[in-house]
Amino acid sequence: MTTNRRWWSGMLATEDWWSVWIGLGIFALGLASLLGLDLVGWMARPRPWEWTDLTGAFAWSKLFTPAGARYAGWHPLVSFAATYVVFTALFALGARCMRLDVRRFVVGFSALFVVTWAAWIVGNELHLTMVDATVDGRNRYSEAGLSWGLQLGEGAPYLLALLAGLALGNFGKTFAAKRLSEAARAEWYIKTAIVFLGVNLGAQTLDASGFAGELILTGAAATFVAYLFFWPIVYFAARRLFGFKRDVAAVVASGISVCGASAAIATGGAIRAKPIIPVTVSMVVVIFAMLELIILPGLYTALAPDQPIVNGAALGMTVKTDGADAAAGALLDQLMIARNLQLTGARWQEGWILSASLLTKIWIDVFIGVWAFVLAIVWIKKVEKRSDAVRVGPMEIWFRFPKFVLGYAVAWAVFFGIASAWPALAPTLEQGTAVVAGPMRTMLFMLTFVAMGALTDFSKLKGLGKIALLYGLALVVVIAPIAYVVAYLFHRGLTPPLVAP
């Protein structure tokens, strides 16, 4: 039985909390750098490679190496094995506490891990990543002797991971359902990665506090747009144009306007709708989120290559579910950086576009508990008129609060606090946590792409009729255009800082 009875309920039994424990645990290992210890440098990281160079004289070290300098003497395969063992053990521990089938989880996780790494390594081949641009008088594309290239930058591994996952989910349905489903937990991986991103935000705040502060504050404005603008429009359309009952319309409106499956379930619970309603809406949300992830980063990059922060923030308001939003933000980040490099020869710093997308979404997430509580009160008093008999406690707000946000905030506050209080320690801190914020975070993003793809079966859209139609219409006619206009009003002309020469 899994019920929330006390404020601490679920601390060892939900993915949300386990993303906090794993994320902060590894971050704490990174902090050991302040004591002169490197406890995270064993992590493997792929290297850029070119296939003719590899076929000439094969060496594992051309494909990946340990991330930390102190582990440079390790054989790449030992580093890879350590990466596999540590992450498998941590997630399996969480799976055990959540009473999942640990054996099935480890089998599924191992398969996802292999696919992830295959996509990550292949995606670092220079014909996929290298951008034809002259930077500081050097053109590495020409220097590498490339005659052609897709020029996708670091977005190439993400796209490959997504394609691999979708191939599994749509052409290997039986395998995905039997072998991968227990471990294909995209939200868990992305929430853990978001905790790691707290380190990135800390570094960004340190480097450009005004810009980071602006992103944080304007993210809050998106909350008003989602709850007070999108929601009423979609609810009204669901009632008047599609003839949905009040409870279905409310759940659909939350799913489409606010934060996807999470909001649909929270709203369904708040208005005490039959669980089949949020379950159905969530199925639609998950499939559309995947479509948004596939289409929007490339579309925004093509249409507005000079508006990186606008594109990021618009994405955060448009793409539902944390996994799809963060994944789309990461993909947009890399595609925009590559495109700008191609067009101008200037390289933007990584992570700012992703932060614009993520901070927008996190603010929306944070208020879902409050929104559901308000809806519950309105429903009891105005719709059911049962305020004499039914009461809902404010503790519901806490139960619905996304706990991974706490991990993100703690990682940011600890990093920024230490670096601000003891500036002399800042370089050591940045260096020590670079593996956490870099390859570890990227690997979890890659795992998210594969896991999301593996669980997305587009054929399920067939039976979802009117809800899917409403979702599609609302997305194209209301959510995406308004989100873009609002993001443009706040962020037009803003660009990430340039990478120092």
């Binding site: 009875r5 679920g10 939200e187 499956a261 929270a266 619970g269 969530s282 406690g393 519901e396």
Partner: protein, 85 residues
């Protein structure tokens, strides 16, 4: 006022409230609450805390939201029984 704590679940298109010697089932939540009021009316006034069991939601959904709903049903004295509303 006495208090009961029951587990609320949703099984095969029906709501169920169970625990502390109570086990009622109904297709509609309002109907379930009416059954509870009838069964526990003798103990009125009573607060029935209903805690939703997430195990009755599909497992793949738990990653998005680990909580559905908890609420309290207040069963008051019936006018005919106690003379008070």
């Amino acid at each position: 006022m006495s208090v009961r704590e029951l587990v609320l679940s949703f099984e095969r298109d029906r709501w169920r409230a169970a625990g502390e010697g109570v086990d009622v089932v109904h297709g509609d939540l309002r109907g379930l609450e009416t059954l509870l009021e009838a069964q526990l009316g003798g103990e009125a006034p009573i607060d029935v805390h209903l805690k939703f069991d997430m195990a009755s939601m599909p497992r793949w959904l738990h990653q998005y939201q680990g909580h559905y709903c908890n609420y309290t049903l207040h069963v008051g004295r019936r006018p005919g029984r106690s003379g008070r509303a």
